[in-house]
Protein backbone atom coordinates (compact mmCIF):
# COMPACT_ATOMS: atom_id res chain seq x y z
CA UNK A 1 0.00 0.00 0.00
CA UNK A 2 2.71 2.45 0.96
CA UNK A 3 4.64 1.75 -2.19
CA UNK A 4 1.54 2.51 -4.21
CA UNK A 5 1.13 5.88 -2.60
CA UNK A 6 4.74 6.65 -3.31
CA UNK A 7 4.31 5.70 -6.91
CA UNK A 8 1.45 8.07 -7.38
CA UNK A 9 3.25 10.80 -5.55
CA UNK A 10 6.17 10.67 -7.94
CA UNK A 11 4.00 10.43 -11.01
CA UNK A 12 3.08 14.07 -10.55
CA UNK A 13 5.52 16.44 -12.22
CA UNK A 14 5.75 18.66 -9.14
CA UNK A 15 7.20 15.93 -6.94
CA UNK A 16 9.06 14.18 -9.71
CA UNK A 17 11.03 17.30 -10.55
CA UNK A 18 13.10 17.53 -7.33
CA UNK A 19 13.51 13.76 -7.14
CA UNK A 20 14.96 13.68 -10.63
CA UNK A 21 17.17 16.60 -9.73
CA UNK A 22 18.71 14.60 -6.90
CA UNK A 23 19.19 11.45 -8.96
CA UNK A 24 20.83 12.96 -12.01
CA UNK A 25 24.31 13.65 -10.53
CA UNK A 26 24.45 10.13 -9.13
CA UNK A 27 23.57 8.61 -12.48
CA UNK A 28 26.17 10.71 -14.24
CA UNK A 29 28.83 9.71 -11.77
CA UNK A 30 28.11 6.01 -12.16
CA UNK A 31 27.92 6.34 -15.94
CA UNK A 32 31.31 8.02 -16.22
CA UNK A 33 32.91 5.51 -13.88
CA UNK A 34 31.59 2.63 -15.93
CA UNK A 35 32.58 4.32 -19.19
CA UNK A 36 36.15 4.77 -17.98
CA UNK A 37 36.34 1.11 -16.92
CA UNK A 38 34.75 -0.10 -20.14
CA UNK A 39 36.98 2.00 -22.36
CA UNK A 40 40.08 0.97 -20.42
CA UNK A 41 39.22 -2.68 -20.86
CA UNK A 42 38.30 -2.10 -24.47
CA UNK A 43 41.38 -0.21 -25.50
CA UNK A 44 44.13 -1.52 -23.23
CA UNK A 45 43.15 -4.89 -21.80
CA UNK A 46 41.30 -6.57 -24.64
CA UNK A 47 43.62 -8.40 -27.05
CA UNK A 48 44.12 -7.34 -30.65
CA UNK A 49 41.79 -9.27 -32.92
CA UNK A 50 43.51 -11.73 -35.20
CA UNK A 51 41.53 -10.90 -38.32
CA UNK A 52 40.40 -7.35 -37.82
CA UNK A 53 43.41 -5.72 -36.17
CA UNK A 54 42.95 -2.74 -33.90
CA UNK A 55 40.02 -1.29 -35.80
CA UNK A 56 37.66 -3.74 -34.19
CA UNK A 57 37.87 -1.82 -30.92
CA UNK A 58 35.18 0.46 -32.20
CA UNK A 59 32.67 -2.24 -31.25
CA UNK A 60 33.00 -1.11 -27.66
CA UNK A 61 31.02 1.90 -28.69
CA UNK A 62 29.20 0.56 -31.70
CA UNK A 63 27.50 -2.46 -30.22
CA UNK A 64 26.26 -0.84 -26.98
CA UNK A 65 24.92 2.10 -28.96
CA UNK A 66 23.13 -0.23 -31.36
CA UNK A 67 21.58 -2.19 -28.52
CA UNK A 68 20.52 0.93 -26.72
CA UNK A 69 18.97 2.44 -29.85
CA UNK A 70 16.58 -0.47 -30.15
CA UNK A 71 15.88 -0.74 -26.46
CA UNK A 72 15.06 2.96 -26.16
CA UNK A 73 12.47 2.75 -28.91
CA UNK A 74 10.57 0.13 -26.97
CA UNK A 75 10.77 2.18 -23.79
CA UNK A 76 9.65 5.29 -25.64
CA UNK A 77 6.65 3.54 -27.16
CA UNK A 78 5.79 2.11 -23.76
CA UNK A 79 5.70 5.51 -22.06
CA UNK A 80 3.87 7.11 -24.96
CA UNK A 81 1.26 4.35 -24.83
CA UNK A 82 0.87 4.81 -21.08
CA UNK A 83 0.37 8.52 -21.67
CA UNK A 84 -2.31 7.88 -24.28
CA UNK A 85 -4.13 5.22 -22.26
CA UNK A 86 -4.07 6.80 -18.81
CA UNK A 87 -3.63 10.44 -19.72
CA UNK A 88 -0.68 10.80 -17.37
CA UNK A 89 1.33 13.83 -18.29
CA UNK A 90 4.61 12.55 -16.96
CA UNK A 91 4.62 9.43 -19.13
CA UNK A 92 4.18 11.47 -22.29
CA UNK A 93 6.96 13.78 -21.22
CA UNK A 94 9.19 10.76 -20.69
CA UNK A 95 8.46 9.60 -24.21
CA UNK A 96 9.34 12.93 -25.78
CA UNK A 97 12.46 13.14 -23.64
CA UNK A 98 13.66 9.70 -24.71
CA UNK A 99 13.32 10.29 -28.46
CA UNK A 100 16.37 12.53 -28.98
CA UNK A 101 18.63 10.20 -27.01
CA UNK A 102 17.30 7.25 -28.97
CA UNK A 103 17.95 9.03 -32.22
CA UNK A 104 21.42 9.93 -31.04
CA UNK A 105 22.21 6.31 -30.19
CA UNK A 106 20.93 5.21 -33.58
CA UNK A 107 23.06 7.80 -35.23
CA UNK A 108 26.15 6.77 -33.27
CA UNK A 109 25.57 3.14 -34.19
CA UNK A 110 25.28 4.10 -37.85
CA UNK A 111 28.29 6.37 -37.74
CA UNK A 112 30.62 4.04 -35.94
CA UNK A 113 29.38 1.22 -38.11
CA UNK A 114 30.19 3.25 -41.20
CA UNK A 115 33.64 4.09 -39.85
CA UNK A 116 34.24 0.45 -39.25
CA UNK A 117 32.76 -0.60 -42.55
CA UNK A 118 35.27 1.41 -44.57
CA UNK A 119 38.30 -0.70 -43.52
CA UNK A 120 36.27 -3.93 -43.28
CA UNK A 121 34.25 -3.85 -46.49
CA UNK A 122 35.98 -1.10 -48.42
CA UNK A 123 32.72 0.88 -48.46
CA UNK A 124 31.13 3.20 -45.96
CA UNK A 125 27.78 1.62 -46.48
CA UNK A 126 26.37 -1.67 -47.73
CA UNK A 127 22.75 -2.64 -47.88
CA UNK A 128 23.02 -5.30 -45.25
CA UNK A 129 19.85 -6.24 -43.38
CA UNK A 130 21.09 -5.05 -40.03
CA UNK A 131 22.32 -1.75 -41.35
CA UNK A 132 19.14 -1.14 -43.26
CA UNK A 133 16.87 -1.77 -40.33
CA UNK A 134 18.98 0.49 -38.16
CA UNK A 135 18.57 3.21 -40.77
CA UNK A 136 14.82 2.74 -40.77
CA UNK A 137 14.84 2.94 -36.99
CA UNK A 138 16.50 6.34 -37.33
CA UNK A 139 13.69 7.44 -39.64
CA UNK A 140 11.12 6.27 -37.12
CA UNK A 141 12.74 8.34 -34.40
CA UNK A 142 12.94 11.35 -36.68
CA UNK A 143 9.30 10.94 -37.65
CA UNK A 144 8.22 10.89 -34.03
CA UNK A 145 10.26 13.98 -33.23
CA UNK A 146 9.17 15.90 -36.32
CA UNK A 147 5.54 15.19 -35.63
CA UNK A 148 5.83 16.44 -32.08
CA UNK A 149 7.77 19.49 -33.21
CA UNK A 150 5.15 20.33 -35.80
CA UNK A 151 2.31 20.43 -33.28
CA UNK A 152 2.32 23.34 -30.89
CA UNK A 153 -0.30 22.30 -28.41
CA UNK A 154 1.67 20.01 -26.09
CA UNK A 155 -1.29 17.81 -25.17
CA UNK A 156 -2.13 17.23 -28.78
CA UNK A 157 1.51 16.65 -29.63
CA UNK A 158 1.72 14.02 -26.90
CA UNK A 159 -1.27 12.12 -28.15
CA UNK A 160 -0.33 12.26 -31.81
CA UNK A 161 3.21 11.19 -30.96
CA UNK A 162 1.86 8.28 -28.97
CA UNK A 163 -0.16 7.00 -31.90
CA UNK A 164 2.80 7.04 -34.25
CA UNK A 165 5.12 5.53 -31.63
CA UNK A 166 2.70 2.66 -31.08
CA UNK A 167 2.13 2.07 -34.78
CA UNK A 168 5.90 2.09 -35.16
CA UNK A 169 6.36 -0.35 -32.28
CA UNK A 170 4.02 -2.82 -33.94
CA UNK A 171 5.92 -2.40 -37.15
CA UNK A 172 9.48 -2.55 -35.89
CA UNK A 173 9.63 -6.33 -35.55
CA UNK A 174 7.91 -6.75 -38.91
CA UNK A 175 10.38 -4.39 -40.52
CA UNK A 176 13.30 -6.12 -38.85
CA UNK A 177 12.35 -9.55 -40.12
CA UNK A 178 11.33 -8.41 -43.58
CA UNK A 179 14.61 -6.63 -44.06
CA UNK A 180 16.45 -9.72 -42.95
CA UNK A 181 14.53 -11.89 -45.33
CA UNK A 182 14.95 -9.37 -48.11
CA UNK A 183 18.67 -9.51 -47.77
CA UNK A 184 19.00 -13.27 -47.58
CA UNK A 185 16.81 -13.47 -50.64
CA UNK A 186 19.01 -11.22 -52.67
CA UNK A 187 22.54 -11.99 -51.80
CA UNK A 188 22.48 -14.50 -49.00
CA UNK A 189 26.02 -15.66 -48.54
CA UNK A 190 27.75 -12.57 -49.83
CA UNK A 191 26.88 -10.75 -46.60
CA UNK A 192 30.42 -11.15 -45.37
CA UNK A 193 30.37 -9.97 -41.82
CA UNK A 194 33.49 -11.98 -41.07
CA UNK A 195 33.12 -11.84 -37.38
CA UNK A 196 35.14 -13.64 -34.87
CA UNK A 197 32.60 -15.98 -33.30
CA UNK A 198 34.50 -16.76 -30.14
CA UNK A 199 34.88 -13.39 -28.63
CA UNK A 200 37.37 -13.25 -25.85
CA UNK A 201 35.87 -12.97 -22.40
CA UNK A 202 37.51 -9.60 -21.82
CA UNK A 203 35.96 -8.24 -24.98
CA UNK A 204 32.56 -9.38 -23.83
CA UNK A 205 33.11 -7.87 -20.41
CA UNK A 206 34.22 -4.57 -21.89
CA UNK A 207 31.21 -4.44 -24.12
CA UNK A 208 28.77 -5.26 -21.34
CA UNK A 209 30.28 -2.61 -19.09
CA UNK A 210 30.07 -0.08 -21.88
CA UNK A 211 26.46 -1.05 -22.51
CA UNK A 212 25.68 -0.48 -18.85
CA UNK A 213 27.46 2.87 -18.96
CA UNK A 214 25.49 4.03 -21.95
CA UNK A 215 22.31 2.81 -20.37
CA UNK A 216 22.83 4.78 -17.21
CA UNK A 217 23.99 7.79 -19.18
CA UNK A 218 20.75 7.63 -21.17
CA UNK A 219 18.71 7.57 -17.99
CA UNK A 220 20.51 10.62 -16.69
CA UNK A 221 20.09 12.57 -19.91
CA UNK A 222 16.46 11.62 -20.21
CA UNK A 223 15.80 12.76 -16.65
CA UNK A 224 17.49 16.06 -17.41
CA UNK A 225 15.38 16.56 -20.47
CA UNK A 226 12.19 15.62 -18.64
CA UNK A 227 13.04 18.23 -16.04
CA UNK A 228 13.34 20.97 -18.60
CA UNK A 229 10.15 19.83 -20.35
CA UNK A 230 8.35 19.97 -17.00
CA UNK A 231 9.64 23.46 -16.35
CA UNK A 232 8.54 24.64 -19.76
CA UNK A 233 5.09 23.13 -19.66
CA UNK A 234 4.31 24.04 -16.07
CA UNK A 235 5.89 27.46 -16.04
CA UNK A 236 2.58 29.04 -15.09
CA UNK A 237 1.89 26.70 -12.21
CA UNK A 238 2.44 27.81 -8.63
CA UNK A 239 5.21 25.44 -7.75
CA UNK A 240 7.37 26.37 -10.73
CA UNK A 241 6.97 30.03 -10.01
CA UNK A 242 7.94 29.48 -6.38
CA UNK A 243 10.95 27.57 -7.63
CA UNK A 244 12.09 30.32 -9.96
CA UNK A 245 11.58 32.88 -7.20
CA UNK A 246 13.75 30.83 -4.87
CA UNK A 247 16.48 30.62 -7.46
CA UNK A 248 16.53 34.30 -8.35
Amino acid sequence: MTSRINWFKYSSPASFYPLAGKLIPAFFAVASLLAVCGLYIGFFVAPTDAQQGEAYRIIFIHVPAAWMSMFLYVVMAFWAGMGLAFNTRLSSMMASAIAPTGALMTFIALWTGALWGKPMWGAWWVWDARLTSELILLFLYLGFMSLQAAIDDPRRADKAGAVIALVGAVNVPIIYFSVQWWNTLHQGASVSLTRNPSMAATMLAGMLIMALAIWIYSIAVVLMRVRSVILERERNSDWVQELTEQQS
Binding site: S146, L147, A150, A160, V167, V170, W182, L185
Partner: protein, 227 residues
Protein backbone atom coordinates in the same frame (compact mmCIF):
# COMPACT_ATOMS: atom_id res chain seq x y z
CA UNK B 1 -38.53 6.88 -42.21
CA UNK B 2 -36.29 5.01 -39.85
CA UNK B 3 -33.02 6.68 -39.00
CA UNK B 4 -30.12 5.26 -40.99
CA UNK B 5 -28.24 2.44 -39.37
CA UNK B 6 -24.48 2.03 -39.10
CA UNK B 7 -24.24 0.37 -42.49
CA UNK B 8 -26.29 3.09 -44.17
CA UNK B 9 -24.10 5.75 -42.67
CA UNK B 10 -21.03 3.83 -43.72
CA UNK B 11 -22.17 3.51 -47.28
CA UNK B 12 -23.11 7.18 -47.35
CA UNK B 13 -19.53 8.01 -46.42
CA UNK B 14 -18.20 5.76 -49.16
CA UNK B 15 -20.60 7.05 -51.77
CA UNK B 16 -20.04 10.68 -50.92
CA UNK B 17 -16.30 10.30 -51.30
CA UNK B 18 -16.60 8.36 -54.53
CA UNK B 19 -18.93 10.99 -55.94
CA UNK B 20 -16.56 13.78 -54.94
CA UNK B 21 -13.75 11.86 -56.56
CA UNK B 22 -15.76 11.41 -59.74
CA UNK B 23 -16.52 15.12 -59.86
CA UNK B 24 -12.78 15.65 -59.73
CA UNK B 25 -11.78 13.17 -62.32
CA UNK B 26 -8.65 15.23 -62.82
CA UNK B 27 -7.56 14.37 -59.29
CA UNK B 28 -7.94 10.69 -59.97
CA UNK B 29 -5.92 11.01 -63.11
CA UNK B 30 -3.22 12.85 -61.24
CA UNK B 31 -2.32 9.95 -59.03
CA UNK B 32 -2.30 7.67 -62.01
CA UNK B 33 -0.20 9.94 -64.16
CA UNK B 34 2.18 10.53 -61.32
CA UNK B 35 2.59 6.79 -61.03
CA UNK B 36 3.28 6.44 -64.73
CA UNK B 37 5.63 9.41 -64.87
CA UNK B 38 7.70 8.41 -61.86
CA UNK B 39 8.15 4.92 -63.23
CA UNK B 40 9.03 6.33 -66.63
CA UNK B 41 11.51 8.83 -65.25
CA UNK B 42 13.81 6.05 -64.21
CA UNK B 43 14.88 4.89 -67.59
CA UNK B 44 15.69 8.56 -68.24
CA UNK B 45 17.77 8.91 -65.11
CA UNK B 46 19.39 5.49 -65.19
CA UNK B 47 20.02 4.86 -68.86
CA UNK B 48 18.35 2.47 -71.24
CA UNK B 49 20.31 -0.75 -70.81
CA UNK B 50 17.62 -3.48 -71.19
CA UNK B 51 19.08 -5.99 -68.73
CA UNK B 52 19.55 -3.30 -66.11
CA UNK B 53 16.00 -2.09 -66.59
CA UNK B 54 14.59 -5.59 -66.35
CA UNK B 55 16.34 -6.17 -63.07
CA UNK B 56 15.21 -2.91 -61.51
CA UNK B 57 11.71 -2.96 -63.02
CA UNK B 58 9.69 -4.53 -60.21
CA UNK B 59 11.38 -2.39 -57.59
CA UNK B 60 10.85 0.81 -59.54
CA UNK B 61 7.19 0.08 -60.22
CA UNK B 62 6.58 -0.70 -56.58
CA UNK B 63 8.38 2.40 -55.37
CA UNK B 64 6.35 4.46 -57.86
CA UNK B 65 3.12 2.92 -56.58
CA UNK B 66 4.16 3.70 -53.06
CA UNK B 67 4.94 7.33 -53.84
CA UNK B 68 1.72 7.75 -55.83
CA UNK B 69 -0.24 6.40 -52.94
CA UNK B 70 1.42 8.85 -50.57
CA UNK B 71 0.65 11.71 -52.93
CA UNK B 72 -3.02 10.77 -52.93
CA UNK B 73 -3.11 10.36 -49.15
CA UNK B 74 -2.51 14.03 -48.53
CA UNK B 75 -6.06 14.61 -49.75
CA UNK B 76 -7.71 11.83 -47.79
CA UNK B 77 -8.86 13.90 -44.84
CA UNK B 78 -7.60 17.41 -45.56
CA UNK B 79 -10.72 18.55 -47.41
CA UNK B 80 -13.02 17.26 -44.71
CA UNK B 81 -10.86 18.85 -42.08
CA UNK B 82 -10.85 22.27 -43.70
CA UNK B 83 -14.56 22.47 -44.41
CA UNK B 84 -15.78 21.10 -41.08
CA UNK B 85 -17.07 17.76 -42.39
CA UNK B 86 -14.65 15.94 -40.15
CA UNK B 87 -16.09 17.57 -37.05
CA UNK B 88 -19.49 16.42 -38.15
CA UNK B 89 -18.23 12.88 -38.71
CA UNK B 90 -16.70 12.90 -35.24
CA UNK B 91 -20.05 14.03 -33.87
CA UNK B 92 -22.06 11.42 -35.75
CA UNK B 93 -23.75 8.85 -33.53
CA UNK B 94 -21.68 6.02 -34.99
CA UNK B 95 -18.28 4.58 -34.34
CA UNK B 96 -15.69 6.84 -35.92
CA UNK B 97 -13.47 3.81 -36.51
CA UNK B 98 -16.04 2.42 -38.84
CA UNK B 99 -16.72 5.68 -40.66
CA UNK B 100 -12.99 6.21 -41.08
CA UNK B 101 -12.77 2.75 -42.63
CA UNK B 102 -15.44 3.91 -45.07
CA UNK B 103 -13.29 6.84 -46.10
CA UNK B 104 -10.28 4.61 -46.53
CA UNK B 105 -12.21 2.15 -48.69
CA UNK B 106 -13.49 4.93 -50.93
CA UNK B 107 -10.02 6.34 -51.16
CA UNK B 108 -8.55 3.02 -52.20
CA UNK B 109 -11.25 2.47 -54.80
CA UNK B 110 -10.58 5.89 -56.26
CA UNK B 111 -6.81 5.95 -56.17
CA UNK B 112 -5.43 2.48 -55.42
CA UNK B 113 -7.43 0.33 -57.78
CA UNK B 114 -6.51 2.37 -60.88
CA UNK B 115 -2.84 1.81 -60.08
CA UNK B 116 -3.39 -1.94 -60.00
CA UNK B 117 -5.06 -1.82 -63.38
CA UNK B 118 -2.45 0.33 -65.06
CA UNK B 119 0.58 -1.40 -63.58
CA UNK B 120 0.91 -4.11 -66.28
CA UNK B 121 1.45 -1.39 -68.87
CA UNK B 122 4.45 -0.18 -66.93
CA UNK B 123 5.62 -3.76 -66.44
CA UNK B 124 5.75 -4.13 -70.20
CA UNK B 125 7.98 -1.06 -70.37
CA UNK B 126 10.43 -2.85 -68.15
CA UNK B 127 10.17 -6.03 -70.19
CA UNK B 128 8.57 -8.24 -67.53
CA UNK B 129 7.13 -11.57 -68.70
CA UNK B 130 3.46 -12.51 -68.54
CA UNK B 131 3.70 -14.43 -65.27
CA UNK B 132 5.51 -11.60 -63.60
CA UNK B 133 2.86 -9.17 -64.81
CA UNK B 134 0.14 -11.26 -63.22
CA UNK B 135 2.05 -11.45 -59.97
CA UNK B 136 2.65 -7.70 -60.17
CA UNK B 137 -1.09 -7.11 -60.31
CA UNK B 138 -1.78 -9.56 -57.51
CA UNK B 139 0.88 -8.05 -55.29
CA UNK B 140 -0.47 -4.55 -55.88
CA UNK B 141 -4.01 -5.76 -55.27
CA UNK B 142 -2.98 -7.00 -51.84
CA UNK B 143 -0.42 -4.32 -51.14
CA UNK B 144 -2.07 -1.02 -52.08
CA UNK B 145 -4.99 -1.40 -49.62
CA UNK B 146 -2.41 -1.97 -46.91
CA UNK B 147 -0.65 1.21 -47.98
CA UNK B 148 -3.95 3.12 -47.84
CA UNK B 149 -4.72 1.74 -44.40
CA UNK B 150 -1.34 2.50 -42.88
CA UNK B 151 -1.22 5.82 -44.70
CA UNK B 152 -4.57 6.87 -43.32
CA UNK B 153 -3.08 6.90 -39.83
CA UNK B 154 -0.37 9.25 -40.99
CA UNK B 155 -2.81 11.42 -42.91
CA UNK B 156 -4.97 11.75 -39.82
CA UNK B 157 -2.00 12.54 -37.60
CA UNK B 158 -0.71 15.30 -39.86
CA UNK B 159 -4.05 17.09 -40.20
CA UNK B 160 -3.84 20.73 -39.41
CA UNK B 161 -0.16 20.27 -38.79
CA UNK B 162 1.86 22.49 -41.05
CA UNK B 163 4.26 20.83 -43.37
CA UNK B 164 1.62 18.17 -43.87
CA UNK B 165 2.66 16.43 -47.06
CA UNK B 166 6.33 16.02 -46.35
CA UNK B 167 5.77 15.14 -42.71
CA UNK B 168 3.25 12.56 -43.79
CA UNK B 169 5.79 10.85 -45.99
CA UNK B 170 8.37 10.93 -43.26
CA UNK B 171 5.99 9.21 -40.87
CA UNK B 172 4.63 6.68 -43.28
CA UNK B 173 7.39 5.69 -45.69
CA UNK B 174 9.42 3.77 -43.12
CA UNK B 175 6.30 1.83 -42.19
CA UNK B 176 5.78 0.91 -45.83
CA UNK B 177 9.06 -0.96 -46.00
CA UNK B 178 7.71 -4.49 -45.43
CA UNK B 179 5.02 -4.05 -48.08
CA UNK B 180 7.59 -2.76 -50.51
CA UNK B 181 10.00 -5.59 -49.85
CA UNK B 182 7.48 -8.36 -50.27
CA UNK B 183 5.61 -6.64 -53.07
CA UNK B 184 8.69 -6.11 -55.18
CA UNK B 185 10.04 -9.44 -53.94
CA UNK B 186 7.02 -11.30 -55.26
CA UNK B 187 7.47 -9.89 -58.73
CA UNK B 188 11.20 -10.50 -58.76
CA UNK B 189 10.74 -14.05 -57.58
CA UNK B 190 8.23 -14.69 -60.31
CA UNK B 191 10.38 -12.99 -62.94
CA UNK B 192 13.24 -15.25 -61.85
CA UNK B 193 10.97 -18.28 -62.31
CA UNK B 194 10.47 -18.94 -58.60
CA UNK B 195 7.10 -19.15 -56.88
CA UNK B 196 5.65 -15.97 -55.45
CA UNK B 197 3.18 -17.73 -53.16
CA UNK B 198 5.02 -17.10 -49.92
CA UNK B 199 5.41 -13.40 -50.67
CA UNK B 200 1.79 -13.01 -51.60
CA UNK B 201 0.48 -14.74 -48.52
CA UNK B 202 2.65 -12.51 -46.37
CA UNK B 203 1.19 -9.48 -48.14
CA UNK B 204 -2.25 -10.89 -47.36
CA UNK B 205 -1.32 -11.20 -43.71
CA UNK B 206 -0.14 -7.60 -43.64
CA UNK B 207 -3.43 -6.53 -45.16
CA UNK B 208 -5.45 -8.36 -42.54
CA UNK B 209 -3.52 -6.97 -39.62
CA UNK B 210 -3.67 -3.46 -41.07
CA UNK B 211 -7.44 -3.88 -41.44
CA UNK B 212 -7.73 -4.68 -37.77
CA UNK B 213 -5.41 -2.06 -36.41
CA UNK B 214 -5.29 0.92 -38.76
CA UNK B 215 -8.92 2.15 -38.74
CA UNK B 216 -8.82 2.29 -34.98
CA UNK B 217 -5.55 4.24 -34.91
CA UNK B 218 -6.95 6.52 -37.61
CA UNK B 219 -10.05 7.25 -35.58
CA UNK B 220 -7.97 8.06 -32.50
CA UNK B 221 -5.84 10.42 -34.57
CA UNK B 222 -8.87 12.07 -36.12
CA UNK B 223 -10.29 12.79 -32.69
CA UNK B 224 -7.00 14.36 -31.74
CA UNK B 225 -7.10 16.47 -34.90
CA UNK B 226 -10.56 17.93 -34.30
CA UNK B 227 -9.88 18.80 -30.65
Amino acid sequence: MKPPRLLDAWSAVVRRDLLSALRHRADLLTTLIFFVIVASLFPLGVGSDAALLRSIGPGVIWVAALLASILALARLFSGDYADGTLEQLALAPYSLTFLALGKIVAHWLATGLPLVIVAPLLGVQFDLNADALLVLMASLLLGTPTLSLIGAVGAALTLGVRGGGALLSLLILPLYVPVLIFGAGAVEASAAGLGAGAHLSLLGAFLLSALVFAPWATAVSLRIAVE
